[in-house]
């Protein structure tokens, strides 16, 4: 087990960054997924989209240099890199729904072995709304879930989601601090594990049924 949450998040972000390919258009969700931008391999160029209407989103500006006319999807000031562009919400979701976004990385409340994801509402408790998540998960070519493996000791990777779904059968890859799992027609395949864990520990911490890949690898981070 990895108990240091910040370390766990860094492992997840670094591993997901290795999924990115030169020339891709990528949307990162708020929170943990945003960290992926810090670890893009140096030899490739990736265009980050923010669904409020820009591509080539850059880092958070220095204190005192914030421009409140350039914000991310959370309303926080950001910057735009050379080569960037601004556009309206219709164009933004044409990019998303139209399959022009190669990869979307999202955090989640629950994800299951059939590729279902639930990350927009806890009925009666927390109702933030889906924002752009439903469109992103439905429209992006590849959906990667970035999540801690467990929360309060409970597996976030389930046999079947219990919360209202964000989308059905849309998740392709789940990356946690302990494992990389791919959703396939046969089920959830455990492809990689962290060097500091074992297959048995991963199985014991996962509610979903795992198919162990015959060529199981150690996560490269």
């Amino acid at each position: 087990m990895i108990t240091d949450i910040e370390l766990a998040k860094t492992i997840i972000a670094k591993r997901i960054a290795k999924e990115l390919k030169d020339g891709q258009l990528v949307n990162l969700g708020i929170g943990l997924p945003t960290m992926v931008a810090n670890y893009v391999p140096e030899n490739i160029t990736v265009t980050f989209q923010s669904e409020n209407g820009m591509v080539m989103m850059g880092p958070v500006p220095e204190k005192g240099k914030e421009n409140m006319d350039i914000t991310n999807a959370g309303g926080q000031p950001v910057t735009v890199l050379p080569g960037g562009a601004f556009f309206d919400s219709s164009m933004s979701f044409a990019l998303i729904r139209g399959g022009h976004v190669d990869i979307t990385v999202l955090g989640t409340l629950e994800v299951d072995q059939e590729g279902n994801i639930a990350n927009w509402v806890i009925p009666g408790k927390k109702v933030p709304g889906m924002g752009g998540a439903m469109d992103l998960v439905t429209g992006a070519k590849k959906v990667i879930v970035a999540s801690l493996h467990t929360e309060k000791g409970r597996s976030k990777i389930l046999k079947k989601c219990t919360l209202p779904l964000t989308a059905k059968h849309e998740v392709n890859l789940i990356v946690t601090e302990l494992a990389v799992m791919e959703v396939t027609p046969d089920g959830l395949v455990l492809k990689e594990i962290n060097k500091d864990t074992t297959v048995n520990e991963v199985i014991s911490l996962t509610d979903a049924d795992l198919i162990i890949h015959k060529d199981l690898k150690i996560m490269e981070i």
Partner: protein
Amino acid sequence: MKKVVDKNELRPLLKDGISIMFGGFMACGTPEGLVDLLIEMNIKELTLICNDAGFPDRGIGKLIVNKQVKKLITSHIGLNPEAGRQMNEGTLEVQLVPQGTLAEQIRAEGSGIGGFLTPTGVGTSVETGKQKLTINGKDYLLELPLKADFAMLRGSITDTDGNIYYNGTTRNFNPLMALAADNVIVETEELVERGQIKPEDVMTLGVLVRYIVKEEKK
């Protein structure tokens, strides 16, 4: 047509129960001066259409905090706890819509499209009460256009004809809403004479805009 008015000249138009589309995304690109006018006038029973519920002290969030909103059609209320509280209490009706669907519903209204098919929401509670169609083996939901009595926009630079240029990410829903409401009001940060915005830079056509108010950025 005289379009440039003092904010107070809009008062006779604004009545309890009207529906308003507000531009802006997490308050970036929301006309704060028009929000403040509605607060000063204490216009009640509003139906608002906006990407999100803003923050309690910024954007349309201020109208929710002041209990002037009856119904909110939006994609996200997570950064305004008061919206969630009023929703749970039953005093605010919230209709949550996927963001891309919301944008397209507004675009459809403004473009004369009677409805559209989107895969977003298939297999989720968004399906409820909607017609599902299968086209070439793929499932879609039929979503309908969305209109309002007013669209309230925020321009960065507007000319006296109402041609609008938007800075940075302030554009978001603003240009879509300019076509989807009976009365379009733009609050602009900078007001310039006709011809001062290059035709290539016009993002919302002046012919769509009825009223222009100048409001300094706070």
